[in-house]
Symmetry: C2
Subunit: 150 residues, 2 copies
């Protein structure tokens, strides 16, 4: 469901934005990890069986990119995002397995107008990614830069 465009002023602390869910495939896990996280438990199904997870799991970096993309695809910052300056307290709390269905929830926890450039401000959000069993697999705090209306 495409949501309306939001400027910095439209984000209120406490606001929660929920995303659609996405199915993670074994093919995507391996394909991503070959370039960005080539550990055996992300790229080799046989070796993964003897690894720390006992099976193939998603790279946490991929879960991060998917989580952001889920938020972006809601449409709220498609025209107002000016990037981001950082991430805080990212935690991988549970493995992401092939065929998991992930969804994200983005909660505004703080906002601050830029003191140098008043055409933008930081919107700080706590992002929670859950699987099909509502188990939390990842949380992270994003510091997004969002355009102001003026």
């Amino acid at each position: 469901m495409q949501k309306s465009k939001m400027f910095f002023e439209d984000f209120e602390v406490g606001l929660v934005i929920k995303t659609e869910s996405k199915k993670i495939t074994k093919k995507e896990i391996i394909s991503f990890a070959k370039n960005y996280d080539p550990q055996d438990f992300h790229i080799d199904e046989n070796k993964a069986k003897k690894g720390p997870f006992g099976t193939l799991v998603s790279s946490g970096f991929m879960t991060l990119g998917i989580s952001f993309t889920q938020f972006f695809e809601t449409g709220v910052v498609k025209e107002t995002s000016m990037g981001a300056w950082g991430i805080d307290e990212l935690r991988w709390t549970y493995p992401v397995y092939p065929d998991d269905k992930l969804k994200s929830e983005v909660k505004v926890i703080e906002k601050k107008l830029s003191s140098k450039k008043p055409n933008k401000g930081t919107v700080r959000t706590l992002n929670t990614v859950t699987n099909q069993d509502d188990k939390v697999v990842m949380t992270w705090i994003a510091n997004f830069l969002i355009k102001t209306k003026s």
Copy 2:
């Protein structure tokens, strides 16, 4: 240069591991971002010209994956990594442009044996990614889980 395998015990606070450098291409920037960060300034060269960076830039999530992979490819944790539980204080400090050459430096800042599972411990590192002009483009703290010898 392939370095020797390191267990938890081998990581000492203050140790610095330097990686090879890698050239970032426009093709890779666009290809990554289409799936994991589909903002105009990462996927559309023309729209990017009117965007906040005035040109196409790498997704910060891609820079992160590349930075980890550069560390992993040194070989030190290829057989001893048991994953990671989180990231702290990730900062994107300067844009990554097409044709930039990135390298990473990984400094051990803390280590702690797992109280529950003595077969592993957390190695906390400060990772600094620089471009061909030695400009810092990203810093991040990783919390890696590394096997013990026993």
